[in-house]
Symmetry: C2
């Protein structure tokens, strides 16, 4: 008989192996946070088919979660930080009025800049969103030994902002400091030995107006043969209480 | 026999009447631009059901198009402008690298700030996106006689940025200067006598990776009894060549 912990380790090993092969995983965060399940793929595995499955089966915002190290390498600032910059606020008072200081489940928004690959047309088709996502993931892997200056030049050569792929940057300290979907999404990429760049979307109820329940997400996982994990599974694997 | 122009005026009248009742319309921009059809509702008509139809039937980004006058009233800046602000670029060199100077169908991005209503939880459920959208549309109507200072205070009391509803601000001069989805979406709201705040999304192919063809969009319009217009219909009605 396997105990709960062993089951969870085995589920984790299967999920990590699938993710490392470019296959999807499902991650439910926690009953005590957003209570949402995300469908996730490595950014480098993004194809038009992947983007189509995300938009058709999930319903939430398609987002690209990136590791704090990737954000640092490319110098990608948090929107919350640049939109509260004193010089900008002085000229745009609405930025002070719209300040984020009241999130119900967190203290910080993870959003950084949104991007489009420069070779996209409208930016929103499956083809365009796949190109933006895949090339960002590939470039993050190619630039690991580059300087920040080189990485920024390479990024700007291929991408522009604003775009149709919102990026979410992992909190400094990762899951140790914030247990959000962004942190979970990049943690699974790292466990799979990939650059921490993960494309995903929140699963909403097909016929209801709230998030898909964890039971329905498990049913979807079973039907599609997709490994499903919880935030606790990932945190246990990393030795985080 | 009706000639093409009369047909088009009749179709326009039906679409405008439907929109003024809080019903949807479909707008195909042009063969010479993005070649995309958007499904649109007045922002004030946003309900969880409306958001669900948008995410399920469209596949593209859900966006809130606002009139240039509404953007001015609330002091909402274009992302392209604030993200190229000298003080910000000096501290975040990536902003210079990611500059938008190469759009294939336009010279400007319409994106302004993204918003969440402060009473939302995750911001992404149909319930949350409907609240953000509906209240923004209502507030725009309530604030028409207010000063910019009052409008900004009222906006900040209810909304925060960043959020899950990306806003697109009409170009100054509207359709006279830019014939984009944003300008078309707010033009139909004005024709219907509503505050120029329109929620919509781009229709993508259900089983393909590009935009829905205009023929398939017409089929969808027919099946769902939704009036469909082209950019030319709207521009003709406004006397714009």
């Amino acid at each position: 008989m396997l105990d709960g912990r062993a089951m969870s380790e085995s589920a984790l090993a299967r999920a990590v192996a699938a993710f490392s092969r470019g296959e999807p995983v499902l991650v439910f965060d926690s009953d005590f946070r957003e209570q949402e399940t995300d469908l996730l793929w490595p950014a480098t595995a993004a194809t038009p088919e992947v983007m189509r499955q995300l938009r058709k089966d999930c319903g939430g915002l398609l987002f690209l979660a990136i590791g704090d190290d990737v954000g640092e390498m490319f110098g990608l600032p948090y929107l919350q930080d640049i939109h509260t910059h004193a010089a900008l606020v002085a000229e745009n008072p609405v930025l002070a009025a719209l300040i984020t200081d009241d999130l119900q489940y967190d203290t910080r928004s993870a959003f950084t800049l949104s991007l489009n690959h420069r070779d996209t047309f409208t930016g929103i088709t499956d083809r365009d969103r796949a190109l933006t996502t895949r090339r960002f993931g590939e470039l993050a892997g190619e630039m690991t030994d580059a300087s920040t200056e080189q990485a920024i030049v390479a990024l700007g050569k291929e991408f522009r902002t604003p775009g149709h792929i919102p990026l979410c940057r992992e909190s400094p300290g990762g899951l140790q400091t914030r247990q959000g979907h962004t942190e979970l999404a990049v943690a699974i990429a790292r466990l799979a030995g990939l650059a921490p760049c993960t494309i995903g979307a929140e699963m909403l109820q097909p016929e209801g107006d709230i998030a898909l329940s964890v039971e329905d997400a498990r049913e979807y996982a079973h039907e599609h043969g997709i490994p499903m994990l919880t935030g606790d599974d990932i945190m246990s694997a990393l030795g985080i209480e």
